[in-house]
């Protein structure tokens, strides 16, 4: 038994898109949890379903996409079947969101101060002037110099990195316990990216906020996250502590993914490449979705779909490890 209840628990989540040609399964039977104060990284190629998973947790799944099965619990309370109004209260108050493009998450027609004060007053019962004071404190906390003056500026007067800080401040308004950060650094330069990651890590440490960090950049995950989930074609291929996944990748897909990242100071003539590309949602192969591209494929992979199973510290969805375990078992 764990002493702490996980902050977020997702069980067997399945997201479907009904289309004229049949139902597309974008996220298929995934389960994971996030503890308080933890940063869980979610990586995968575009179309792997990582952003959809994030959107379904905050209840912002765009129709016709829908949660077809599974449950989402926030502190033991089920949130995936709540009516719109109730979910709206939770969103912002208990779950904050940071999106990729800081320009589209801010309203260009309002001063940032107005947007911050509005959000604060929606979720707390502070007065106008108290809310404004809190907004200035938040801007200071996310590292915006001259917060007293900057609060009256419009979004376009901020640079990309500063705008992303404002968005983070906006997400922090009601001190949520969980933040869904969907590619928060992708639109930013490396030096600014480093600043934003440092900021996120500090906030996690100081407020015990949990973060689900969705990104395709393995470097960002390695810097920030404690645990990482690798997604492929709508399923979790591997989930475990970040060191284990980065340095001792078990699933052949994770292995290939790690090899394909170029390193500074690591002079390889050729990068490891995974041939082919991720299957379209309409053409997900039978068995393990990775089997047509896998170098270690065998018969069982083409017929049966592997489930996540514990392999020293991490969990991996791959038949290779099942087989190995059996061998060990026979040896005893």
């Amino acid at each position: 038994m764990e002493a702490d209840q996980p902050l977020l628990q997702v069980n067997n989540l399945r997201i479907e898109f009904p289309t004229r040609r049949g139902t597309l399964v974008a996220v298929d039977d995934i389960s994971f949890h996030i503890d308080p104060g933890e940063i869980l990284g979610v990586v995968g190629e575009s179309g792997a379903g990582k952003s959809l998973t994030g959107a379904s947790i905050i209840g912002l799944l765009e129709p016709p996409g829908r949660i077809a099965a599974g449950e989402i619990y926030l502190e033991g309370k089920r949130i995936d079947n709540l009516p719109y109004e109730k979910m709206r209260r939770i969103r912002g108050q208990e779950i904050g969101a940071i999106f990729q493009d800081p320009l589209t998450s801010l309203n260009p027609l309002y001063r940032v101060g107005y947007q911050l004060v509005e959000t604060i007053r929606t979720h707390t019962d502070l007065s106008e002037s108290q809310a404004r004071k809190r907004a200035i404190d938040l801007l200071k906390e996310v590292g915006i110099p001259g917060a007293e003056e900057r609060i009256d500026h419009f979004p376009h007067q901020f640079s990309g990195g500063m705008r992303q800080r404002v968005v983070i401040a906006l997400a922090l308004c009601a001190e949520p316990r969980l933040i869904i950060a969907d590619e928060p650094t992708t639109a930013l330069d490396v030096s600014i990216q480093a600043q934003i990651i440092t900021l996120l890590k500090r906030l996690c440490r100081e407020h015990r906020t949990a973060v689900m960090l969705v990104t395709h950049d393995m470097g960002v995950i390695a810097e920030a996250a404690q645990r990482v989930a690798v997604m492929y074609a709508g399923r979790i291929a591997e989930i475990g502590p970040v060191q284990d996944v980065v340095k001792r990748a078990k699933h052949p897909y994770t292995h290939g993914l790690m090899g394909s990242i170029p390193h500074v100071g690591h002079a390889a003539e050729k990068l490891t490449q995974i041939d082919g590309s991720m299957p379209r949602l309409t053409e997900i192969p039978q068995g393990c979705a990775f089997n047509p591209r896998c170098t270690r494929v065998f018969d069982r992979c083409r017929a049966e779909r592997p489930d996540l199973q514990p392999v020293d510290g991490s969990e991996v969805a791959c038949w290779l490890f099942e087989e190995e375990e059996k061998k060990v078992g026979y040896g005893d």
Binding site: V190, I261, K270
Partner: protein
């Protein structure tokens, strides 16, 4: 010219020869308000100094990379080199021919056709209404390399095979392909004109890492096969480390440091280069706290006086705010434009 002849000429020409010589290249953009506003507001003209005096050489068979943060002018350099922009001043010599003088670059078609460009966004750079075979055949027919239709078709098939697609894919339209496959089509189109020099403007930044690896491997292979010379623009230092022979670091329209790849990554001199290298997320040392870099790139409309990096530089002194540093060649061939390095204040 037949393909055979092109190949022979290239083998003869390869060696230590400079393909592209850029000298004090300058490009300003006028972003002034309209005339009447200027009169009423009594404001002057406003210039963005996108590229403000940069010089470098690229030798045959090399990959010269330009890195820097967004807005530093690296893409403008790429566009100047291929002739999509005209330089404001400076010189641009391609195989001994001056290109900066020609008001209309189409007047030097034989030079123009020896350069091709690969763009960042494979979704925007292919015409969605054309079949892939027509897209790839366009440079061939436009330059009248092959006039016979069946032969054009065969050549398109060859090119598609070379970039890892099948000749049958030529009948499809761009929307039927994924991002990585589209970038392969862009590369096939660039190769169709039988170029010697390719300008690649962030060719992999719109792609996933696993697809990026495929494209980078393909580009390296093609470089060896055809003895191609690349000007590679990227903001990703790890990608640059993987592909380059030489690397130039740009900041606010200027080259602050350029050197061989090894020298630059092992012994970065300029404080900005050091800062960039520090900011790379590191997969090896997980959980490491990185040195956060203070500040952001200032606006190129109103760049800081003296050395443009001085407001963010930990080694800035009075001289840096007044005097613009000139590039200094060090004994290992690296060029650095920094007063602190010149005065031996930092090693």
């Amino acid at each position: 010219m037949t393909e055979q002849a092109v190949r022979t000429r290239r083998t003869v020409a390869s060696g230590d020869e400079t393909v592209l010589h850029v000298d004090e290249l300058v490009r300003y953009f006028d972003v002034s308000p309209p005339f009447l506003n200027r009169v009423i507001e009594r404001s002057g003209r406003q210039l963005v100094k996108a590229v403000d005096g940069i010089s470098f050489d690229i030798k045959r068979g090399e990959t010269f990379s330009l890195v820097g943060e967004s807005g530093c002018g690296k893409s403008t350099v790429a566009r100047l080199v291929v002739g999509l922009y005209q330089p404001t001043a400076g010189s641009l010599m391609f195989e001994g021919t001056e290109l900066a003088d020609h008001k209309d670059r189409l007047r030097v078609p034989e030079i123009q056709s020896r350069m091709q460009m690969i763009f960042q966004d494979p979704y925007a750079s292919l015409n969605p209404r054309w079949r892939v075979s027509d897209i790839i055949a366009e440079p061939i027919t436009a330059r009248r390399l092959i006039s016979d239709r069946p032969q054009v078709k065969q050549r398109v098939g060859e090119l598609l095979t070379q970039v890892g697609l099948s000749p049958a894919d030529g009948e499809k339209y761009p929307h039927e392909f994924s991002g990585g496959q589209r970038q392969r089509i862009s590369i096939a189109r660039a190769l169709a004109g039988e170029p010697e020099f390719l300008v690649c403007d962030e060719p992999t930044s719109a792609l996933d890492v696993s697809v990026q690896a495929q494209i980078l491997n393909l580009m390296k292979e093609l470089q060896l096969t055809y003895n191609l010379t690349y000007l590679f623009i990227s903001h990703d230092l790890a990608v640059v480390y993987h592909v380059s022979t030489k690397v130039g670091v740009m900041y606010l329209g200027r080259l602050v440091e350029w050197a061989d790849k090894k020298t630059l990554f092992e012994k970065p001199r300029h404080p900005y280069t050091r800062m960039l290298l520090d900011a790379i997320p590191d997969l090896e040392m997980t959980g490491r706290a990185r040195t956060p870099v203070a500040g952001e790139v200032p606006s190129p409309i109103n760049p800081p006086s003296g050395c443009p990096f001085h407001p963010r530089c930990p080694h800035a002194e009075d001289r840096c705010t007044r005097e613009r540093p000139t590039a200094l060649e060090l004994n290992d061939g690296a060029h650095v434009a920094c007063h602190a390095v010149e005065e031996n204040r930092i090693s």
